[in-house]
Every structure is written in C-alpha cells, then in structure tokens.
Amino acid sequence: MTTEAHVQHPNYVKIWAILVVLLVVSVLGSMTHIRDAVLIAAFGVAVIKAYLVAKNFMHVNVEKRWVPYLLVVCLLFIAILLAGVAPDVMKNSGENWNKNPSSQSAPSVAGAATKNE
C-alpha cells in the first residue's frame, strides 16, 4: 500500500538544529546554580522541545482534531491523578501532625506467624 502523503514536509534539519540549541541552553542554565534559572531553563526548554517534536516531527497539528484532544485528555488524567494523590504523598507535616517514618523496622514475624498451609 503506498503512503498517501498527508503532510507537507518542513525543513527537518532546521528544526533539529533549534532543538540542539535548546538542549545547550538547558545544560548551560543548569550550570548557573541559580535555582530558578535552572528550573525554568530545564523544564521550560523541555516543554518547548516537546512541542516542536510533536508539531514538526509528529505532525500532530495536521492530524484530525480529535487526536491531539485525546493526547491532551490523557495528560489531563495524569494531572487529576497528581491533584488527588499529592496531598497525601507530598506533604510530610501539617497542622499538629508529622509524618515521621518509624526509625526501627517492623518487628519480625517469622516466629509468631502461623505456618501457611
């Protein structure tokens, strides 16, 4: 079956060059040791790189509309997961409580356990 070309092919090498420059920027940013610069450089660049790959290499923008919607909905579900779980997993203390992991490990059960037949 021959492929019906459904996309216009841009200059891919040019896109690649931009991606490499962005990579260099994120690495240089990480070397500055200013916390905010590092985080913005690293994650901001990551988002831009991902967008460039999705748009120019995967041609998501010329696909049927529901395709990017489906992918975004999947990301949305992960965001919902984060929102629901974060209060329990991320916080280690609050008003009147601390999540102090026990400093000893749990008592051994080898002797006390009923043999499992």
């Binding site: 629901g84 997993v89 992991p101 400093s103 499992n116």
Partner: protein, 567 residues
C-alpha cells in the same frame, strides 16, 4: 462487493490454536473465562462454607486455615474480575460481535488479536501456577496493599505474591492490545453508511470500556512495576521507613480500580440494551442520551477513586471532594436505568430467557446502586468500611454485571455463535434458580454488615467482640443459598453443552433482530459476509409503520422494506 478468502482448510492445530479469526478468538476467551469461573466459584463455595459452618471440614476441600482463607478470598476476587468478567464481557463478546455488528470481515489487526489472547492465556496459566508453589497462592487481597503485599514475611505467600502480580500485569497488557484493536476496528472498519449514531450500543459500550481501561491502567502498571521491585529487589517505593508511601499504591490502584468497575459495567449495559430492544420490539429510548450519559460516566469515573480510601488516612479535605463526585456519578447511571425502563414502557414484551436476564439486571443493579450511596458518603463509610455491607453492595453490582448480563448475552447470542437454540425450559429453570438464591445470599450480608461483621476475617471465634453469635443463622443462610445457586449453574452447563449437539437448529435470525450479525448464517462463516453490507439506518428500528415485518434490518434499503413478508 464480495470477498473471496482463498486458503486451504486449516488443520486442527491451526484452527483451534493459531486462528486469527475473531470468532474463534472470542470462543477461546469465552471458554477460558468460563473455566476460570468454575475455579472462582469453587473458592467462593469453600470460604462460604467456612463462614457458614466455622472451623469444620469442608467437603471437597478440607479444613480452612487462616492462611488458606486469605488466599481463597484473594483468588476469588482476582479471578472473578480479571479472568472471568473482563474476558467474557469485553474480549469474548467484543471479539465475536464487533466485526459482525459493524459489517466487516474481521478485526483490523487479526494477528495482534491472536497475540492478545495468547498473552491472556499466559496470564491465566501464571496465576494457576501460583496454586502449586511453596506457600500457595497470594493471600493479600485482590487489592494487594503493601506492606502486606510487598513483604513475604508478612503475607506468607512470597512466591504467590510475585506470580499474582505478574499474572495481573500480563492480563493488563492483553486487554490493552485487545481494546485498542476493538477501538480501531469500530472507528475505521464500519460498513459504508454506518455513521457514529448507527452503531449498536453494545459495540459503543465495549469500545468506551476499552478506552476507559486504557486511560486508567497506566498508573497502575507503573505502580505494579514498583511493587514488583519492592517484592523482589529490596526497593522501598511503598516502605515508609525508606522514604516511600503505602498510600501511593492505594491511590495508583484505585485510580484504576474505580474506572475498572465501569469498564465491566458498560459492556453489561450494552448487552442489556440489545436484549431489551429486541424483546420489547421497541427502539432504545434516547439512544443519544444513553451515549452522552455514558461519556459523562466515563469521565466522572476518573474523579471518584478515593472513596475506597476514606478511612485509609487520606487528607480529610480530599474525602469531602471525593464524596461529592461519588454521589454525582450516581446521577447519570440512574438516568440510564430510567432510559431502559422507558424503552420497556409501551413495548411488546416477550419474556424469553434473555429478556428475563435483562430485566433481572435492571432490578438487581438498582439495589447495588442505591446501597452504594451509603458507602460513597464519607460519614457513613467510616462505619461501614470493610464490613459485609460493602461485600453485599459490590456483589449486587458485580453479579448483575458478570453473571446476569453475561447470561443475558449468552442466551441471546448462543444461536448465532453455535447454530443451535438453547432449551427454553431449562433456561427458565436456570434463571429462577440463580436469581432467587442470589438475593438470599446477599440480603443477610447487608444485615450482618450493618451489625458490624468485618470482611476478610476467617472466623470470628477468636474475636469475642466480633462474634455476634445471634447472627450466625444469617451467615449460614447465606452459605446454603450459595449452595443452591451453584447447583443450578449445572443446569446451564448441561443446557449449553447438550444444545451444542441436540439443540434445535437455529436459522440466521431467530429473534427477529435488526442488527447486522443476524443477517449472516448461524454460525457465521469465515469472512462473515458473502457480500459486505451497506447500512441504511440505525440499529433499533422496531415497530415501524408501513413495513410488512415489525422491524427494519440495518442493511435493507428503504425501497426493499415494504416487500418483506413476516418470516
């Protein structure tokens, strides 16, 4: 357009083990699921005998020790959900029906289809293998909470625990592959003329179930990898002494676990929709509304999961939020039940066996649904959590889904699948012998649960404040009712296999249904359609004026309708 599939008649191995034909793969899933149901049902028999007649030798099994009890309830739950409900409702019915109902010759990717069954079979074998290892099968409950599930010294079934986890992971991969195949086939391979709203509801429901499954299982696959490493590689993902958090597993599990119940509910609703339309000779009331409510249920199912964790130590503010969303989700489900009732109203009701099962589904599921309200409200759940009230609630939803709706589908499509009719009298005996005992099993459990009986306890004899001897007659009644219900299943098994050879031969459309699978011979040949159909109308055109028959098949052009005589 005719299809000529040219190849030599296949040998037995090719036909039964290597087939890529969706109908054969459907049968593979169906029979595997039915075999696993026998095992899961046997386990229920054993542990209910322990609960009804505590600490006595169980005929056919022996004495139920605490460790064995834990393994029995764990395996019963895991098997019934992952190796019975899902393969039969989604994989068996989906595989058999989708290509036929959308009017094409097979799934879009038949070899991926075959691979998905092979992975599924492997998952079942891995689970069964766990029965034979040292320590026996996993006993940490189907929910597998760490640290119990992560540490062999706690669960006493370390090998079984890892095998269980691997089996579940393989099952997930099988259903991801299968579900994606169903979705692509339904989206792309439809007959010309079959628009989105001409697709039969059971196909929509199976596809939506597959999509919900796909979107929810990812985090649990990640969580399962982490649990596997905790079990085998000394990591501490869920170990609070090492920076992990057991609550993380609970969240990952239930983020999947709640949508999962809708993953099994939707195909059941779809089956009942088909049966109700055919046996009331009436169009589904509000097809589009059914669809829109299903989409909203599908979305809402992703934001209710922590109602399983109200007393686990989650942030109380999240408990508020999840209570509200949980109560909200009952609205669209209730609306669907109303739509089915509205379909029945004014219809010409034929109480054949499939319809009896369909009506039973509606009534019994409603009881399950309303009892869920007490559990979805965090206040009452504080008392009811982990009691038998929960067990009774979810069996009033799961049994309609995995048993009642399955029987509705099997008795309805049996003629198409096997070319024979099931015996109606035996069918009705089986029906009453299942539904009446089912209620007698679980209504007492609502009562004992409200009184405080805790689940997952092998015997109350050791716990004075739990024992409530005054209620023992309820527990024993429940057990005896289960014995009756299990006995009546042999009526179905006999009917099923006897009718394969001796049942009345079925013609193409014994129920006078309008959907495409009834336009081909029973059973359908390889390639399904001698001439691939074109679709002219929706799937539920019953009771139309101006037609000689009381229904208009989807593939008959308007001009040809008037000339058809009553078959």
């Amino acid at each position: 357009m005719s299809t000529e599939v040219q190849h030599a008649e296949p040998g037995i191995f090719q036909k039964y083990f290597l087939s890529t034909d969706h109908k054969m793969i459907a049968m593979q899933y169906l029979f595997t699921g039915m075999a696993m149901a026998l095992i899961g049902g046997f386990f229920a028999y054993v542990f209910r005998m322990q609960l009804g007649f505590p600490n006595q030798h169980v005929p056919g099994y022996g004495l139920v020790t605490p460790g064995k009890y834990n393994a029995l309830v764990t395996m019963h739950g895991s098997i019934m959900i992952f190796w019975v409900a899902m393969p039969v409702l989604i994989a068996a019915f989906g595989n058999f029906l989708i290509p036929l109902m959308v009017g094409c010759d097979d799934m879009a990717f038949p070899r991926i289809n075959r691979l998905s069954y092979q992975i599924f079979l492997l998952s079942a074998l891995v689970l069964l293998a766990s029965f034979l290892v040292k320590g026996g099968p996993f006993g940490g409950a189907w929910t597998g909470y760490p640290p119990l599930s992560a540490v062999g010294a706690y669960n006493l079934t370390p090998i079984g625990a890892t095998l269980w986890l691997l089996a579940v992971a393989l099952e997930f991969i099988a259903f991801l592959l299968g579900g994606i195949n169903f979705t692509v086939t339904t989206m792309n391979s439809r007959a010309p003329g079959m628009k989105m709203y001409d697709i039969p509801l059971v196909v929509w429901m199976i596809v939506l179930a597959s999509v919900i499954f796909m979107c929810s299982v990812g985090p649990l696959i990640a969580g399962a990898v982490m649990l596997l490493f905790d079990q085998t590689m000394s990591t501490g993902f869920y170990d609070p002494t090492r920076g992990g958090d057991p609550l993380l597993w609970q969240h990952l599990f239930w983020f999947f676990g709640h949508p999962e119940v809708y993953v099994v509910l939707l195909p059941a609703l779809g089956i009942v929709a088909e049966v109700v339309a055919v046996f009331a000779r009436k169009k589904i009331f509000g097809y589009k509304t059914v669809l829109y409510t299903t989409w909203s249920v599908g979305f809402l199912s992703f934001v209710v999961w922590a109602h399983h964790q109200f007393v686990a130590g989650i942030d109380p503010r999240m408990a508020n939020i999840f209570s509200i969303t949980t109560l909200l989700i009952s609205v669209p489900i209730t609306e669907m039940v109303f739509l089915y009732i509205a379909t029945l109203y004014g219809g010409s009701i034929h109480l054949d066996t499939p319809m009896l099962w369909g009506l039973a589904f509606i009534g019994e599921f409603m009881i399950g649904g309303v009892t869920g309200i007490f559990l979805g409200s965090s206040g009452t759940d504080i008392y009811l959590h982990d009691s038998y009230f929960v067990i009774a609630h979810f069996h009033y939803t799961f049994v309609p889904i995995a048993i009642i709706a399955v029987y509705a589908g099997l008795t309805f499509w049996y003629p198409k699948m096997f070319g024979r009719m099931l015996n109606e009298t035996l069918g009705k005996i089986h029906f009453w012998g299942t539904v009446i005992p089912f209620n007698v099993i679980f209504i007492p459990l609502f009562i004992t649960g409200t009184a405080g009986d805790q689940r997952r306890v092998y015997s109350y004899a050791q716990f004075a404040e739990q024992s409530r001897p005054a209620l023992q007659h309820l527990r024993t009644t429940s057990t005896i009712a289960l014995l009756f219900m299990l006995a009546f299943q042999f009526v179905f098994i006999f009917n099923f296999f006897w009718s394969l050879r001796r049942g009345k031969r079925a013609d193409a459309n014994p129920w006078r249904s309008s959907t495409l699978e009834w336009t081909v011979p029973s059973p359908p040949p390889h390639g399904n359609f001698a001439e691939l159909p074109i679709v002219y109308r929706g799937p539920y055109e019953y009771g139309l004026p101006g037609c000689a028959e009381d229904f208009a098949p989807q593939n008959v052009p308007d001009a040809a309708l008037a000339g058809r005589s009553r078959a």
